[in-house]
Amino acid sequence: MARGAPVTAAPRPGPPLWLLCELTYRCPLHCVFCYNPVDFSRTGAELTTAEWLRVLAEARALGAVQLGLSGGEPLVRDDVETIVAAAHDLGFYINLITSGVGLNESRLEALKRAGLDHIQLSFQDSTRQMNDFLSSTRTFELKSKVAALIKKYEYPMVLNVVLHRLNIDHVGEILAMAKTMEADYVELANTQYYGWAFKNREQLLPSRAQLERAEAVTQRFREDNGERMRIYFVVPDYFERRPKPCMNGLGSLFLTIAPDGCALPCQAARMLPGLQFPNVRDASVASIWYDSAAFNHFRGDAWMKEPCRSCPEKTKDFGGCRCQAYLLTGDAANADPVCDLSPHHHLVTEAVARAERPYVSEKPLVFRDHR
Protein backbone atom coordinates (compact mmCIF):
# COMPACT_ATOMS: atom_id res chain seq x y z
CA MET A 1 0.00 0.00 0.00
CA ALA A 2 1.39 3.33 -1.03
CA ARG A 3 0.29 5.54 1.82
CA GLY A 4 -2.19 5.99 4.61
CA ALA A 5 -4.25 3.28 6.18
CA PRO A 6 -4.35 -0.28 4.89
CA VAL A 7 -7.48 -1.61 3.20
CA THR A 8 -9.15 -4.48 5.03
CA ALA A 9 -11.65 -7.00 3.75
CA ALA A 10 -15.10 -7.13 5.32
CA PRO A 11 -14.66 -8.42 8.85
CA ARG A 12 -17.24 -10.71 10.39
CA PRO A 13 -19.28 -8.22 12.39
CA GLY A 14 -20.53 -8.55 15.93
CA PRO A 15 -24.25 -8.94 16.54
CA PRO A 16 -26.81 -6.38 15.38
CA LEU A 17 -27.04 -4.79 18.82
CA TRP A 18 -29.61 -2.24 17.68
CA LEU A 19 -32.79 -3.41 16.01
CA LEU A 20 -35.15 -0.81 14.59
CA CYS A 21 -38.56 -2.11 13.60
CA GLU A 22 -40.46 0.31 11.43
CA LEU A 23 -43.82 -1.26 12.10
CA THR A 24 -45.67 0.72 9.45
CA TYR A 25 -45.19 3.57 7.01
CA ARG A 26 -48.75 4.68 7.74
CA CYS A 27 -48.94 7.93 9.64
CA PRO A 28 -51.66 10.47 10.34
CA LEU A 29 -49.14 13.27 9.79
CA HIS A 30 -47.61 14.71 6.65
CA CYS A 31 -44.25 16.05 7.77
CA VAL A 32 -42.15 17.72 5.12
CA PHE A 33 -38.92 16.44 6.74
CA CYS A 34 -39.90 12.78 7.01
CA TYR A 35 -37.04 10.42 6.11
CA ASN A 36 -39.39 7.64 5.00
CA PRO A 37 -38.98 6.75 1.33
CA VAL A 38 -40.88 9.09 -0.98
CA ASP A 39 -42.52 6.09 -2.67
CA PHE A 40 -43.50 4.47 0.64
CA SER A 41 -47.05 3.87 -0.55
CA ARG A 42 -45.72 1.45 -3.17
CA THR A 43 -44.05 -0.92 -0.69
CA GLY A 44 -45.52 -4.36 -0.07
CA ALA A 45 -47.88 -5.55 2.66
CA GLU A 46 -46.85 -4.95 6.27
CA LEU A 47 -45.48 -7.83 8.29
CA THR A 48 -48.09 -9.57 10.41
CA THR A 49 -47.87 -9.75 14.19
CA ALA A 50 -46.54 -13.31 13.98
CA GLU A 51 -43.87 -12.26 11.49
CA TRP A 52 -42.71 -9.41 13.73
CA LEU A 53 -42.52 -11.78 16.68
CA ARG A 54 -40.34 -14.14 14.67
CA VAL A 55 -38.03 -11.25 13.68
CA LEU A 56 -37.71 -10.24 17.34
CA ALA A 57 -36.89 -13.77 18.49
CA GLU A 58 -34.32 -14.31 15.75
CA ALA A 59 -32.62 -10.96 16.28
CA ARG A 60 -32.55 -11.41 20.04
CA ALA A 61 -30.97 -14.85 19.62
CA LEU A 62 -28.15 -13.15 17.67
CA GLY A 63 -27.60 -10.70 20.53
CA ALA A 64 -29.77 -7.71 19.57
CA VAL A 65 -30.58 -5.83 22.75
CA GLN A 66 -31.88 -2.34 21.97
CA LEU A 67 -35.20 -2.28 20.17
CA GLY A 68 -36.72 0.78 18.52
CA LEU A 69 -40.35 0.69 17.47
CA SER A 70 -41.06 3.42 14.98
CA GLY A 71 -42.69 4.04 11.63
CA GLY A 72 -44.59 5.95 10.23
CA GLU A 73 -46.58 6.17 13.40
CA PRO A 74 -46.23 2.78 15.11
CA LEU A 75 -49.38 3.28 17.17
CA VAL A 76 -51.44 3.10 14.00
CA ARG A 77 -51.05 -0.65 14.47
CA ASP A 78 -53.19 -2.25 17.15
CA ASP A 79 -50.64 -4.95 17.99
CA VAL A 80 -47.90 -2.74 19.48
CA GLU A 81 -48.82 -3.98 22.96
CA THR A 82 -48.40 -7.62 21.82
CA ILE A 83 -45.08 -6.82 20.16
CA VAL A 84 -43.82 -4.98 23.27
CA ALA A 85 -44.83 -7.83 25.56
CA ALA A 86 -43.00 -10.38 23.41
CA ALA A 87 -39.94 -8.15 23.11
CA HIS A 88 -39.86 -7.63 26.87
CA ASP A 89 -40.01 -11.37 27.54
CA LEU A 90 -37.10 -11.81 25.14
CA GLY A 91 -35.02 -9.27 27.09
CA PHE A 92 -35.04 -6.27 24.75
CA TYR A 93 -34.78 -2.72 26.05
CA ILE A 94 -37.74 -1.22 24.23
CA ASN A 95 -37.93 2.35 22.91
CA LEU A 96 -41.16 3.63 21.38
CA ILE A 97 -40.74 6.52 18.95
CA THR A 98 -44.10 8.17 18.50
CA SER A 99 -45.83 11.42 17.63
CA GLY A 100 -48.23 10.71 20.47
CA VAL A 101 -51.17 10.57 18.09
CA GLY A 102 -53.12 7.49 19.16
CA LEU A 103 -51.56 7.33 22.62
CA ASN A 104 -54.31 7.45 25.21
CA GLU A 105 -54.24 6.36 28.83
CA SER A 106 -55.53 2.84 28.31
CA ARG A 107 -52.91 2.16 25.64
CA LEU A 108 -50.10 3.64 27.68
CA GLU A 109 -51.18 1.64 30.72
CA ALA A 110 -51.16 -1.53 28.59
CA LEU A 111 -47.75 -0.67 27.09
CA LYS A 112 -46.29 -0.04 30.54
CA ARG A 113 -47.66 -3.34 31.77
CA ALA A 114 -46.26 -5.08 28.70
CA GLY A 115 -42.77 -3.83 29.60
CA LEU A 116 -42.15 -0.75 27.48
CA ASP A 117 -38.95 0.89 28.76
CA HIS A 118 -38.85 4.28 27.11
CA ILE A 119 -40.86 6.73 25.03
CA GLN A 120 -39.59 9.42 22.71
CA LEU A 121 -42.28 11.89 21.83
CA SER A 122 -41.59 13.57 18.56
CA PHE A 123 -43.05 16.94 17.89
CA GLN A 124 -44.86 16.66 14.61
CA ASP A 125 -44.07 19.84 12.95
CA SER A 126 -45.18 20.47 9.50
CA THR A 127 -45.36 24.16 8.76
CA ARG A 128 -49.12 23.85 8.90
CA GLN A 129 -48.93 22.62 12.45
CA MET A 130 -46.11 24.89 13.51
CA ASN A 131 -48.38 27.90 13.86
CA ASP A 132 -50.85 25.74 15.64
CA PHE A 133 -48.13 24.66 18.05
CA LEU A 134 -46.73 28.11 18.59
CA SER A 135 -50.15 29.56 19.21
CA SER A 136 -50.74 26.92 21.91
CA THR A 137 -53.76 25.43 20.30
CA ARG A 138 -54.69 21.91 19.25
CA THR A 139 -51.25 20.34 18.78
CA PHE A 140 -49.92 21.76 21.99
CA GLU A 141 -52.93 20.44 23.87
CA LEU A 142 -52.41 16.98 22.42
CA LYS A 143 -48.70 17.04 23.32
CA SER A 144 -49.40 18.33 26.80
CA LYS A 145 -51.95 15.64 27.41
CA VAL A 146 -49.57 12.94 26.19
CA ALA A 147 -46.66 14.48 28.12
CA ALA A 148 -48.71 14.39 31.32
CA LEU A 149 -49.57 10.75 30.69
CA ILE A 150 -45.93 9.88 30.06
CA LYS A 151 -44.98 11.43 33.40
CA LYS A 152 -47.89 9.79 35.18
CA TYR A 153 -46.55 6.41 34.11
CA GLU A 154 -43.07 7.36 35.34
CA TYR A 155 -41.29 7.57 32.04
CA PRO A 156 -38.80 10.35 31.46
CA MET A 157 -40.40 12.93 29.20
CA VAL A 158 -38.24 13.03 26.07
CA LEU A 159 -39.25 15.49 23.39
CA ASN A 160 -37.70 15.40 19.95
CA VAL A 161 -38.14 18.45 17.75
CA VAL A 162 -36.92 18.47 14.17
CA LEU A 163 -35.55 21.90 13.28
CA HIS A 164 -35.39 23.52 9.88
CA ARG A 165 -35.39 26.90 8.18
CA LEU A 166 -39.10 27.48 8.80
CA ASN A 167 -39.12 26.83 12.55
CA ILE A 168 -35.54 27.29 13.75
CA ASP A 169 -36.16 30.95 14.56
CA HIS A 170 -38.75 29.79 17.11
CA VAL A 171 -36.32 27.75 19.20
CA GLY A 172 -36.89 30.02 22.20
CA GLU A 173 -40.66 29.45 22.08
CA ILE A 174 -40.19 25.73 21.48
CA LEU A 175 -37.97 25.47 24.57
CA ALA A 176 -40.45 27.49 26.62
CA MET A 177 -43.23 25.10 25.54
CA ALA A 178 -41.06 22.11 26.41
CA LYS A 179 -40.47 23.59 29.85
CA THR A 180 -44.22 24.08 30.34
CA MET A 181 -44.65 20.40 29.45
CA GLU A 182 -41.98 19.57 32.07
CA ALA A 183 -39.83 17.77 29.53
CA ASP A 184 -36.78 16.06 31.04
CA TYR A 185 -34.88 15.91 27.76
CA VAL A 186 -35.27 17.93 24.59
CA GLU A 187 -33.52 16.96 21.43
CA LEU A 188 -33.35 19.81 18.96
CA ALA A 189 -32.37 17.80 15.94
CA ASN A 190 -31.72 19.65 12.74
CA THR A 191 -33.26 17.98 9.73
CA GLN A 192 -31.18 15.33 7.99
CA TYR A 193 -31.70 15.44 4.28
CA TYR A 194 -33.09 12.08 3.16
CA GLY A 195 -36.45 11.04 1.75
CA TRP A 196 -39.03 13.82 1.92
CA ALA A 197 -36.56 16.15 3.57
CA PHE A 198 -34.14 15.86 0.64
CA LYS A 199 -36.99 16.63 -1.73
CA ASN A 200 -37.63 19.79 0.30
CA ARG A 201 -34.02 20.60 1.08
CA GLU A 202 -33.88 24.00 -0.58
CA GLN A 203 -36.78 25.18 1.57
CA LEU A 204 -35.65 23.49 4.78
CA LEU A 205 -31.92 24.19 5.05
CA PRO A 206 -31.41 27.09 7.46
CA SER A 207 -28.91 29.86 6.93
CA ARG A 208 -25.75 29.92 9.01
CA ALA A 209 -27.01 33.02 10.81
CA GLN A 210 -30.26 31.25 11.74
CA LEU A 211 -28.30 28.31 13.05
CA GLU A 212 -25.97 30.48 15.14
CA ARG A 213 -28.90 32.44 16.57
CA ALA A 214 -30.69 29.22 17.51
CA GLU A 215 -27.58 27.87 19.21
CA ALA A 216 -27.16 31.11 21.14
CA VAL A 217 -30.81 31.08 22.24
CA THR A 218 -30.42 27.46 23.35
CA GLN A 219 -27.29 28.26 25.31
CA ARG A 220 -28.99 31.21 27.01
CA PHE A 221 -31.97 29.02 27.89
CA ARG A 222 -29.60 26.47 29.46
CA GLU A 223 -27.94 29.21 31.52
CA ASP A 224 -31.25 30.66 32.69
CA ASN A 225 -32.93 27.36 33.48
CA GLY A 226 -30.20 25.11 34.79
CA GLU A 227 -29.87 21.38 34.30
CA ARG A 228 -33.38 20.24 35.12
CA MET A 229 -34.26 20.00 31.42
CA ARG A 230 -31.37 18.61 29.39
CA ILE A 231 -31.17 20.02 25.88
CA TYR A 232 -29.28 18.45 23.01
CA PHE A 233 -28.72 20.59 19.96
CA VAL A 234 -27.76 18.61 16.88
CA VAL A 235 -26.13 20.73 14.17
CA PRO A 236 -27.03 19.82 10.58
CA ASP A 237 -24.06 18.03 9.07
CA TYR A 238 -24.13 20.30 6.00
CA PHE A 239 -22.40 22.86 8.23
CA GLU A 240 -19.61 20.50 9.28
CA ARG A 241 -16.28 19.81 7.60
CA ARG A 242 -16.06 16.14 8.50
CA PRO A 243 -18.83 13.59 8.02
CA LYS A 244 -20.69 11.78 10.79
CA PRO A 245 -19.70 8.14 11.42
CA CYS A 246 -23.06 7.15 10.00
CA MET A 247 -24.51 4.04 11.69
CA ASN A 248 -20.98 3.39 12.94
CA GLY A 249 -20.42 1.96 9.47
CA LEU A 250 -23.21 0.15 7.63
CA GLY A 251 -23.79 -3.40 8.84
CA SER A 252 -21.81 -3.04 12.08
CA LEU A 253 -24.44 -2.46 14.77
CA PHE A 254 -27.75 -1.40 13.26
CA LEU A 255 -30.42 -3.49 11.64
CA THR A 256 -33.62 -1.89 10.40
CA ILE A 257 -36.61 -3.90 9.34
CA ALA A 258 -38.97 -1.90 7.12
CA PRO A 259 -42.75 -2.39 7.37
CA ASP A 260 -42.77 -4.91 4.52
CA GLY A 261 -39.97 -6.99 6.02
CA CYS A 262 -37.16 -5.52 3.95
CA ALA A 263 -33.94 -5.67 5.99
CA LEU A 264 -31.78 -2.54 5.81
CA PRO A 265 -28.44 -1.50 7.35
CA CYS A 266 -29.98 1.97 7.93
CA GLN A 267 -33.54 3.22 7.66
CA ALA A 268 -32.68 5.41 4.68
CA ALA A 269 -30.61 2.79 2.79
CA ARG A 270 -33.50 1.52 0.73
CA MET A 271 -32.73 4.16 -1.89
CA LEU A 272 -29.21 2.82 -2.54
CA PRO A 273 -29.11 1.34 -6.03
CA GLY A 274 -27.62 -2.00 -6.99
CA LEU A 275 -28.18 -3.66 -3.63
CA GLN A 276 -30.74 -6.42 -3.25
CA PHE A 277 -31.92 -5.90 0.29
CA PRO A 278 -33.12 -9.22 1.67
CA ASN A 279 -36.55 -9.68 3.21
CA VAL A 280 -37.25 -11.42 6.51
CA ARG A 281 -40.09 -13.24 4.75
CA ASP A 282 -37.49 -15.10 2.66
CA ALA A 283 -34.50 -15.48 4.93
CA SER A 284 -33.53 -15.74 8.59
CA VAL A 285 -32.23 -12.67 10.40
CA ALA A 286 -28.92 -14.51 10.95
CA SER A 287 -28.36 -15.22 7.26
CA ILE A 288 -29.39 -11.66 6.37
CA TRP A 289 -27.01 -10.12 8.90
CA TYR A 290 -23.99 -12.35 8.36
CA ASP A 291 -24.27 -13.72 4.84
CA SER A 292 -26.27 -11.44 2.56
CA ALA A 293 -24.40 -9.53 -0.13
CA ALA A 294 -26.28 -6.33 0.71
CA PHE A 295 -25.16 -6.32 4.36
CA ASN A 296 -21.58 -7.27 3.52
CA HIS A 297 -21.23 -4.71 0.76
CA PHE A 298 -20.23 -1.73 2.90
CA ARG A 299 -18.39 -3.65 5.63
CA GLY A 300 -14.64 -3.17 5.89
CA ASP A 301 -13.23 -0.54 3.57
CA ALA A 302 -12.50 -2.37 0.31
CA TRP A 303 -15.56 -0.62 -1.21
CA MET A 304 -14.11 2.82 -0.57
CA LYS A 305 -12.81 5.19 -3.22
CA GLU A 306 -10.30 7.95 -2.81
CA PRO A 307 -9.96 10.14 -0.83
CA CYS A 308 -11.44 7.79 1.83
CA ARG A 309 -9.50 4.67 0.90
CA SER A 310 -6.11 6.01 1.97
CA CYS A 311 -7.44 8.43 4.60
CA PRO A 312 -6.31 7.83 8.18
CA GLU A 313 -9.72 9.06 9.39
CA LYS A 314 -11.61 6.28 7.62
CA THR A 315 -11.60 4.15 10.77
CA LYS A 316 -13.27 7.01 12.63
CA ASP A 317 -15.99 8.18 10.25
CA PHE A 318 -16.21 5.22 7.79
CA GLY A 319 -16.40 7.72 4.93
CA GLY A 320 -19.60 9.25 6.33
CA CYS A 321 -23.07 8.51 5.10
CA ARG A 322 -23.61 6.25 2.07
CA CYS A 323 -27.08 7.63 1.43
CA GLN A 324 -25.83 11.21 1.46
CA ALA A 325 -22.96 10.27 -0.89
CA TYR A 326 -25.46 8.68 -3.26
CA LEU A 327 -28.06 11.45 -3.08
CA LEU A 328 -25.53 14.19 -3.72
CA THR A 329 -22.97 12.57 -6.03
CA GLY A 330 -24.87 9.67 -7.61
CA ASP A 331 -22.38 7.09 -6.28
CA ALA A 332 -22.82 5.55 -2.82
CA ALA A 333 -19.13 4.58 -2.68
CA ASN A 334 -17.92 8.17 -2.86
CA ALA A 335 -16.86 10.11 0.20
CA ASP A 336 -19.74 11.80 1.97
CA PRO A 337 -19.53 15.29 0.42
CA VAL A 338 -19.88 16.86 3.88
CA CYS A 339 -16.15 16.10 4.15
CA ASP A 340 -14.07 18.99 2.89
CA LEU A 341 -11.60 16.46 1.45
CA SER A 342 -14.30 15.22 -0.91
CA PRO A 343 -14.02 16.50 -4.50
CA HIS A 344 -17.80 16.97 -4.27
CA HIS A 345 -17.72 19.12 -1.12
CA HIS A 346 -18.78 22.13 -3.21
CA LEU A 347 -22.25 20.53 -3.58
CA VAL A 348 -22.70 21.00 0.16
CA THR A 349 -21.16 24.45 0.41
CA GLU A 350 -23.26 25.61 -2.55
CA ALA A 351 -26.46 24.38 -0.88
CA VAL A 352 -25.40 26.20 2.30
CA ALA A 353 -24.63 29.33 0.27
CA ARG A 354 -28.07 29.19 -1.38
CA ALA A 355 -29.59 29.02 2.10
CA GLU A 356 -28.20 32.50 2.75
CA ARG A 357 -30.79 34.03 0.43
CA PRO A 358 -33.83 35.60 2.03
CA TYR A 359 -36.71 33.18 2.07
CA VAL A 360 -38.85 33.28 -1.03
CA SER A 361 -41.29 30.52 -1.65
CA GLU A 362 -40.39 29.71 -5.24
CA LYS A 363 -41.22 26.07 -4.91
CA PRO A 364 -44.04 24.68 -2.82
CA LEU A 365 -43.17 22.33 0.03
CA VAL A 366 -44.02 18.72 -0.66
CA PHE A 367 -45.98 17.30 2.25
CA ARG A 368 -45.44 13.62 2.84
CA ASP A 369 -48.37 11.85 1.31
CA HIS A 370 -49.38 8.87 -0.77
CA ARG A 371 -48.60 9.28 -4.42
Binding site: G63, V65, Q66, Y93, N95, D117, Q120, E154, P156
Partner: protein, 92 residues
Protein backbone atom coordinates in the same frame (compact mmCIF):
# COMPACT_ATOMS: atom_id res chain seq x y z
CA UNK B 1 -15.30 12.10 44.16
CA UNK B 2 -18.25 11.77 46.50
CA UNK B 3 -17.99 9.31 49.30
CA UNK B 4 -20.60 6.64 49.87
CA UNK B 5 -21.94 5.68 53.27
CA UNK B 6 -21.34 1.99 54.00
CA UNK B 7 -25.00 1.83 55.03
CA UNK B 8 -26.29 3.16 51.70
CA UNK B 9 -28.42 0.73 49.72
CA UNK B 10 -27.75 1.39 46.04
CA UNK B 11 -30.17 0.24 43.35
CA UNK B 12 -30.03 0.29 39.57
CA UNK B 13 -31.01 3.77 38.32
CA UNK B 14 -34.57 4.43 37.23
CA UNK B 15 -35.14 3.65 33.57
CA UNK B 16 -31.98 1.53 33.39
CA UNK B 17 -31.74 -2.21 33.24
CA UNK B 18 -28.89 -4.55 34.06
CA UNK B 19 -28.77 -7.91 32.37
CA UNK B 20 -26.41 -10.68 31.40
CA UNK B 21 -25.82 -10.87 27.65
CA UNK B 22 -24.50 -14.27 26.52
CA UNK B 23 -23.67 -12.86 23.05
CA UNK B 24 -21.26 -10.39 24.67
CA UNK B 25 -20.24 -12.62 27.55
CA UNK B 26 -20.80 -9.64 29.84
CA UNK B 27 -23.26 -7.79 31.98
CA UNK B 28 -24.64 -4.78 30.17
CA UNK B 29 -26.43 -1.74 31.47
CA UNK B 30 -29.24 -0.67 29.19
CA UNK B 31 -30.62 2.84 28.99
CA UNK B 32 -32.67 4.70 26.39
CA UNK B 33 -31.08 4.04 23.02
CA UNK B 34 -27.79 2.96 24.51
CA UNK B 35 -25.80 0.33 26.30
CA UNK B 36 -22.74 0.12 28.51
CA UNK B 37 -20.82 -3.12 28.49
CA UNK B 38 -19.51 -3.72 32.01
CA UNK B 39 -16.27 -5.43 32.84
CA UNK B 40 -16.28 -8.43 35.14
CA UNK B 41 -15.92 -6.68 38.47
CA UNK B 42 -18.33 -3.86 37.58
CA UNK B 43 -20.92 -6.48 36.61
CA UNK B 44 -20.42 -8.40 39.87
CA UNK B 45 -20.90 -5.23 41.94
CA UNK B 46 -23.86 -3.92 39.94
CA UNK B 47 -25.80 -7.16 40.04
CA UNK B 48 -25.70 -7.04 43.84
CA UNK B 49 -27.11 -3.50 43.93
CA UNK B 50 -30.72 -4.44 44.54
CA UNK B 51 -31.76 -1.59 46.84
CA UNK B 52 -31.93 -4.08 49.74
CA UNK B 53 -28.29 -4.66 50.57
CA UNK B 54 -25.93 -2.04 51.98
CA UNK B 55 -22.55 -1.26 50.47
CA UNK B 56 -20.87 -3.15 53.34
CA UNK B 57 -23.06 -6.20 52.78
CA UNK B 58 -22.29 -6.10 49.07
CA UNK B 59 -18.57 -5.90 49.84
CA UNK B 60 -18.77 -8.80 52.28
CA UNK B 61 -20.66 -10.90 49.75
CA UNK B 62 -18.08 -10.16 47.04
CA UNK B 63 -15.20 -11.02 49.37
CA UNK B 64 -16.91 -14.28 50.25
CA UNK B 65 -17.74 -15.15 46.65
CA UNK B 66 -14.26 -14.48 45.35
CA UNK B 67 -12.22 -15.47 48.39
CA UNK B 68 -10.75 -11.99 48.59
CA UNK B 69 -10.23 -9.42 51.29
CA UNK B 70 -9.93 -5.65 51.42
CA UNK B 71 -12.33 -4.92 48.53
CA UNK B 72 -14.08 -2.18 50.51
CA UNK B 73 -12.31 0.81 48.95
CA UNK B 74 -12.70 -0.48 45.39
CA UNK B 75 -16.40 -1.19 45.86
CA UNK B 76 -17.01 2.20 47.46
CA UNK B 77 -15.13 3.98 44.67
CA UNK B 78 -17.07 2.15 41.97
CA UNK B 79 -20.43 2.79 43.67
CA UNK B 80 -19.58 6.48 44.03
CA UNK B 81 -18.67 6.70 40.35
CA UNK B 82 -21.83 4.81 39.33
CA UNK B 83 -24.00 7.09 41.48
CA UNK B 84 -22.45 10.10 39.82
CA UNK B 85 -23.18 8.66 36.39
CA UNK B 86 -26.70 7.76 37.57
CA UNK B 87 -26.15 4.08 36.81
CA UNK B 88 -27.08 3.60 40.45
CA UNK B 89 -29.30 5.54 42.78
CA UNK B 90 -29.97 5.54 46.48
CA UNK B 91 -33.69 5.79 47.01
CA UNK B 92 -34.91 7.74 50.01
Amino acid sequence: MNTVAPTAKPAIGRGLRLQWEPAQNAHVLLYPEGMIKLNGSAGEIMKRCDGERTVSEITADLERSFGATGLGDDVAAFVAMALEKKWLEVRP
